[in-house]
């Protein structure tokens, strides 16, 4: 999952950066509104976490600009403004969710996960593909009922492929969703991550769950 945070509080940036990276989420952070809008326009984020009172360009202007340009990016407003008018204005301008500060990190993360699921048109946090069952809310993976231990990166890769199961996903797409703009991966990072995930799945007797489509990328399919 790749998330953009536009927030000018350095302490929040630091806390959320740590919190999201621990969950394997690729989080890009920017404190200036204008820079944030530029990043949101030019990168395939799953979710945008947007503060409203920002230097450069305020959050509502960013929201309006994105919606006017036809962006279907899932946007969560994270702000200290708590009045009903502010919430209504935010949601009516095109935000998908609205969370008022102060907030619990767990709640923010759960809402971001829910928005990411909505992007892939899934309401049920559980995904079942053949012997594989993923609980995207609890971030738990089982094969034939047996829990398997994955790193955050491996989990993110598997979740992304699962969200797009039956569809060949290009390496660039995977790279875009696993790594932020500030964390540039090695050229074969995706192949290494897929290889690592395959070998873990193989330990549980599952060989062909992730298949390679030559010249295209990878596909997660029960076939």
């Amino acid at each position: 999952m790749r998330v953009l945070l536009i927030e000018d509080s350095q302490v929040l940036q630091e806390a959320l950066s740590k919190g999201f990276s621990r969950q394997g989420v690729a989080l890009d952070i920017v404190g200036d509104g204008a820079q944030g809008l530029s990043l949101a326009r030019n990168n395939p984020y799953d979710v945008l976490i947007l503060d409203l009172m920002l230097p450069g360009l305020d959050g509502m202007s960013i929201l309006r600009a994105l919606r006017e340009s036809g962006s279907d990016l899932h946007i969560l407003i994270l702000t200290a403004r708590d009045s009903v008018d502010d919430r209504v204005a935010g949601l009516q301008t095109g935000a998908d969710d609205y969370l008022v500060k102060p907030f619990e990190f767990e709640e923010l993360f759960a809402r971001v996960q829910a928005l990411a699921r909505r992007k892939y048109r899934r309401k049920d946090p559980a995904i079942t593909i053949g012997p594989l069952r993923m609980d995207t809310a609890a971030r738990d993976v089982t094969l034939d009922g047996e829990s398997i231990d994955l790193t955050h990166r491996e989990y993110e890769l598997l979740e992304y492929l699962a969200y797009r199961s039956g569809e060949a996903v290009s390496r660039i797409d995977i790279e875009d969703h696993l790594y932020g703009t500030t964390n540039l991966p090695a050229s074969n990072a995706v192949d290494v991550a897929v290889c690592s995930l395959r070998s873990k799945l193989a330990r549980y007797g599952v060989q062909d769950l992730i298949q390679t489509r030559r010249g295209v990328g990878y596909i997660l399919d029960k076939e």
């Binding site: 806390a15 740590k18 621990r22 102060p102 907030f103 767990e106």
Partner: protein, 469 residues
């Protein structure tokens, strides 16, 4: 306080009572006079009747006793006493009711009639007395016609209880009528006053129904009587002021809540992420540093808020003393030296040496700290700040000028509002947007005047010391 309706009704009733009393007195007087006149006229008629029975024969005057007796009033009517004296005081006639008593003899001139009230033998009577010449003379000039006309004296006293009763009846009738008119008038006045005051009642209900939610509206003067215009206008002004104060209070409360939300969310986010992995000692240390830093900011914010609230709600008289303005500004500049150097800002003081003003030291130091600090914090790096003093006819003026390219004239209106910050300052956690609000409050508290303006790309703050020249 009594009700307005009751007051007006009572005033109307009082007016009505006065009119009724005057009318009653007039009617009673007129009625009594008419009754008395009628009584007197009947007495005169009776005199004329007796007079017509008198006959003069020679020197003698006589009356037919049977005819005279026939003139006596019938039984059951007020008694009448009649006595007639002839020339020389000789008694000609005395009515039987007098028995052997005499009526007091009339002593007036001939032709004069007197009518008086009095008592006769315990009875209240009205007495007519007269002296007259006998008109009916018996005989002819060649027989026994008298040479001179005889003068008689006649007194008729009639009991006046019927007259008194009629007068009392008249008065009673008038008083009963008055009471009826008074009560009817009261009722009519009550109803009319009630109807007349309906617009006031409606207005009262509207005022009574005012609450926080409806404070923003205004009373429509066209819907209320002209007499209430000053009240409607005054209440509309009051509503506007209350509404404004309430809005400011709401804004301040919202701003306060907002100001605390961000540091609180920083604390919660940082601590909850740190607590997720207690083994991550490096992040734990950094989180503690951040928490400490945020707590420091919150403490500073709390001190500033307290200062601002004290300034806005203080009624205390502040002590004034003679202060060296130059030394005071220098003290402020010294405290800002590190930031001036770091941001390469040049601060120049002109004409401050030797200038003394009368003010409160703590308040003036706070104002200067906020104004000069504001100029230094918000001026662009490498720019300059000028502190100068000039003498206006109204008093000494301390002027602080700094470059401020980002501030627009529209923003100037909000600049002294608590927690207002320009876009650039909003992300700086050390800037709370309270400096100018506190400076303005302190200036008001100490009788100084603070004006803020934008002139040729510069922000100009002028602190005037009225009357100090």
């Amino acid at each position: 306080m009594r009700s307005l309706r009751l007051r007006i009704t009572l005033a109307l009733a009082l007016g009505q009572l006065v009119v009724l009393i005057l009318a009653t007195v007039f009617a009673q007087q007129t009625g009594a006079r008419v009754l008395t006149d009628q009584f007197d006229a009947s007495l005169r008629d009776k005199v004329a009747a007796y007079e017509s029975l008198l006959e003069q024969e020679g020197t003698r005057v006589k009356i037919d006793p049977r005819a005279a007796l026939a003139l006596a009033p019938p039984l059951g009517t007020p008694r009448e006493f009649v006595q007639i004296w002839g020339p020389g005081g000789r008694r000609i006639y005395r009515s039987p009711e007098l028995e052997d008593r005499n009526l007091p003899k009339h002593k007036g001139t001939v032709g004069a009639i007197s009518i008086v009230d009095g008592d006769f033998e315990g009875a209240a009577v009205r007495t007519l007395g007269m002296r007259a010449v006998v008109a009916k003379v018996e005989g002819t000039f060649w027989t026994e016609r008298p040479k001179t006309a005889a003068v008689i004296t006649m007194v008729i006293a009639r009991e006046r209880y019927a007259l008194d009763r009629a007068k009392t009846g008249l008065l009673t009738g008038l008083l009963v009528g008055d009471l009826f008119i008074l009560l009817t008038g009261l009722l009519v006045a009550w109803v009319l006053v009630r109807r007349g005051l309906l617009p006031l009642d409606a207005f009262g209900r509207q005022v009574g129904a005012l609450d926080v939610a409806t404070l923003g509206g205004r009373f429509d003067p066209a819907q209320h009587p002209r007499e209430l215009e000053p009240v409607v206008s005054g209440l509309n002004d009051l509503r506007a002021r209350l509404d404004d104060a309430l809005r400011r209070e709401k804004r301040l409360n919202a701003s306060l809540a907002h100001e605390f939300r961000t540091p609180l969310s920083e604390l919660r986010a940082m601590t909850s992420v740190a607590l997720q992995d207690l083994q991550d000692v490096e992040f734990m240390g950094r989180a503690l540093e951040r928490v400490h830093e945020v707590a420091g900011r919150l403490t500073e914010l709390m001190v500033l808020i307290r200062q601002m609230v004290l300034v806005e709600h203080s009624d205390d008289e502040v002590e004034q003393e003679e202060l060296d303005l130059g030394a005071l500004v220098e003290e402020v500049v010294t405290s800002l030296r590190a930031e001036l150097n770091a941001r390469r800002i040049t601060l120049t003081c002109e004409g401050l040496d030797g200038e003394s003003v009368r003010s409160n030291r703590t308040a003036l130091l706070s104002i200067c700290s906020n104004l000069v600090g504001n100029a230094v914090h918000h001026g662009p790096s490498g720019s300059s700040v000028l502190c100068s003093v000039r003498r206006d006819p109204g008093g000494i003026v301390l002027c602080i000028r700094n470059a401020c390219p980002d501030l627009s004239p529209e923003q100037l209106v909000h600049i002294t509002e608590p927690f207002w910050r320009g876009s650039a300052a909003r992300s700086n956690p050390d800037r709370h947007g309270l400096g100018l609000a506190i400076a303005r409050g302190m200036a008001g508290l100490t009788g100084l005047e603070l004006s803020l303006d934008i002139s040729k790309g510069s922000f100009v703050a002028e602190l005037s010391f009225p009357g100090q020249v």
